[in-house]
């Protein structure tokens, strides 16, 4: 069984690697909330995305293996060519079903599944990207009582993804990368996971 309490899910596409590195490299190794990161990537490549994150983060970076428990101290990366789902016992399931929004992994799939399990204790963050993936998942997080955060499109390398989320979730919180870091530190200080 993984950790109950809270979960942070982050999605990004074009420009999302740099943006998420910038945020996550600022976090301490004992960060109190587990983090799941879904980045669009090429299929059927053994990308070394994981080693990039391993090198740059104080937190441990790990590609999701099926049935891994969701544990704090980790950034779990969605593996190439799999969707990542969340089970009720706070473990991961993988899925190789149809592409969603031309993507596998799809951000919508993980955001939606996580919202069904974590409800109001879920924080969704959508970063830079040239895709519409993620916005309906982020809306679902909001509808389930969770927190929806979007990177400021003016700052994002590609604004399509954050902007399409803002268009359908007017109530979401728009922050630049510095603001997102600050918010994550606030969560770290105020929530015991």
């Amino acid at each position: 069984m993984g950790t109950a309490s809270h979960l942070i899910v982050i999605g990004g596409s074009w420009g999302g690697i740099q943006a998420s590195l910038s945020i996550l490299s600022a976090l301490p190794s004992d960060y109190s909330i587990p983090i799941v990161l879904v980045l669009h990537r090429l299929r059927n490549t053994d990308g070394d995305l994981n080693s990039i994150f391993e090198k740059k983060l104080l937190l441990k970076a790990q590609e999701v293996e099926e049935k891994d428990n969701i544990t704090k101290g980790y950034v779990f990366l969605a593996p190439s060519n799999y969707h990542v789902l969340i089970e009720k016992d706070y473990s991961f399931s993988l899925d190789v079903s149809e592409l969603e929004n031309y993507s596998r992994p799809s951000i919508d799939v993980t955001f939606t599944s996580a919202a069904d399990v974590y409800g109001k204790n879920l924080i969704g963050i959508l970063l830079s990207g040239a895709s519409k993936d993620g916005s309906s998942g982020l809306k679902y997080i909001f509808e389930k009582g969770g927190t929806s955060v979007v990177q400021d499109p003016r700052e994002a390398e590609v604004s399509t993804m954050p902007q399409s989320a803002i268009d359908i979730i007017p109530e979401c919180t728009v922050l630049n990368l510095e603001g997102i870091k600050e918010f994550l530190f606030f969560l770290h200080d105020h929530r015991t996971a």
Binding site: E66, K67, L94, D95, V96, V109
Partner: protein, 276 residues
Amino acid sequence: MKLDNEDLFEQEVEELIQEIHTHYGYDFSGYARASVYRRIKRFLNNQHLSTIGELREAVFNDSFYFESFLQEITVNVTEMFRDPSFFLSLRTNVLPILSTYPFIKIWDAGCSTGEELFSLAILLKEEGLLERTKIYATDINQKVLKQAKEGIFSASNIAAYTAGYYASGGKQEFSSYYLSNYGSLKFDSSLIKNVVFYPHNLATDSSFNEFHLVVCRNVLIYFNRQLQERVFTLFDESLVNLGYLALGKKETLAMSEINKNYNFVDKGNRIYRKTG
């Protein structure tokens, strides 16, 4: 579709799973729930149904409708040469050893629409083993087995398949294996002349033969630990000593009882060998 109460939905799904078991004999109780819920919501959406009640009525009144429901719940998405590094490893690390046997038996468990089966057959042909290999291709779903037997795949993925073929160590022109026609690829049926297609349910059926290689990739991800353990035991019973087991890239024997009897041949590609 909007659900007011996720808990109610999940409870209704549990009842539906039980009724399907009683009525049709398919046991989904050991399936990982996150995927089942997602597939059912997807099906409801596509069929313009709004409640599990409506779904129940349709599924139990019409066995053809149930067939299409079954298709949706058991994910059948697959591709040729998925993870080329796996096929390359099979070619370089496993097939040379299998070639020392006079007769080779392979089980492709959960073969779905056959893309992986044809990829395997192409490898065997190029390594000169196809003539003395018998492949048992099984799936829970008879409809996809029929499709697999046809060997007709959409041409829309041809670029990825071609790249995958060469990255897998392909030795011929990939195009020599298929005829292209109106957006589909018809693969050479001589590739599967030694293939037996068999309906088999990993959740309920037992071992039916002994194999030198069992390939079951990205099927176990849909099962819970308990059902996975059942399937691992089934594979263990179905493998000869020193036989090989190939799982999906993110699947593992690590938590299984049978793990102690298996060594990695290729850890990254999850190819195991039975040792005792």
